[in-house]
Amino acid sequence: MAGLTPSQTVGPFFDRQLLWSDGGSILFAGQGERITLTGRVLDGNGVPVVDALFETWQADGAGKLPSGGEGARPYGYGRVSTGEDGAYTIDTVMPGAFKGAGGETYAPQISVTIFARGLLKGVQTRVFLVPLDAIKDDPLARAVGDPERLRTLVATRDPGNPKSYRWDVRLRGAGETVFIEP
């Protein structure tokens, strides 16, 4: 079989095709506790990345994998771009934990892919919506090990608004976010 088609950067001009109106307001078939996840994407100098495509994919409030969609939108999937301050926001539900085929437990998490000018391939990772001590048995937490690095994947709850979670992504340098190779 021929080789894999290589990745190339999304570049700066993707908005018209890839952005959807309300792409950050994520639909689900069932009910769930609505939350927001917000933060900034920063480069190796801590400068906001203003032209990233930020995609999210997650289980519903019961930990069920989404299937199907509503109208012309898939369930469970979000897509926004960062703004001039590097910020993104998604409005979603608190995902439930789910099981792997081997019985392992995946802590409440959202799979995230970020594409941008200057990223020759997207970066993929998972953000956890429960505290560090609640993810010890998660497969990714086990693979990362080092709690300092793992902390880069844990969203923090806004003390003033318990329905709001904050998670910054550092593409490079001090406090660099953990990224995964699928």
Binding site: M1, S7, L18, G102
Partner: protein, 228 residues
Amino acid sequence: MVETHAADAHPPYLYPDYKSTRLRAPAQPLVRVPPSPLEAASPSFPKQFVKDSEADLTTWGTSAPLGEKMVLVGRVLDDGGRPVRRSLVELWQANASGKYPHPVDDHDAPQDPNFLGKGQVLTDDEGRYRFVTVKPGAYPWQNHAFAWRPAHIHLSLFGNAYAQRLITQMFFPGDPLCVIDPIFNSVPEAGRTLLVAELDLEHGIEGVALGYRFDIVLRGTRATPMGV
């Protein structure tokens, strides 16, 4: 099946000749974990997500867009050669003058009111897709002195698993700008030809549009956890 290690096919994150990678490329090693059950599944794009008219970028305006009309056909396959069926393929590109309808595009070239430069289709049961568009123009960029991007078409793919997600660019055969383009050259040499479409006259439209073929191979879903 021989495992294809994705790292062999794709460019590195850091490729200093492409300046924007210097501050955006992760420096830490990636953590290898199998796709989660979530990542082994994919968002489902219902049929109504895509309108038939979105496969033809040349009929959007009040008259035909400027430039050389072309048909782009291809198949989306996984690395085992299996068709990726009913999967979303999104396309965006510059117009024939090398201009995007985007506020940050400061290239002094005309917009084409009859060309939006975007389209989308779902693959069929054989993994096939087809777009009608115009050949995009090359354009200058500020990466280095006299830098010009070769003509290219951006493609975004979902596959049947989120872990297959791919964004890439397709280039044109015989374009002398490819070999001096750091984005093209960021790909390990053996893989560069996989980014170049082939002329495919029979899939063109006689007397109207040149045909090109660009097949796309996504990483397999072999890594589905625990052999599901």
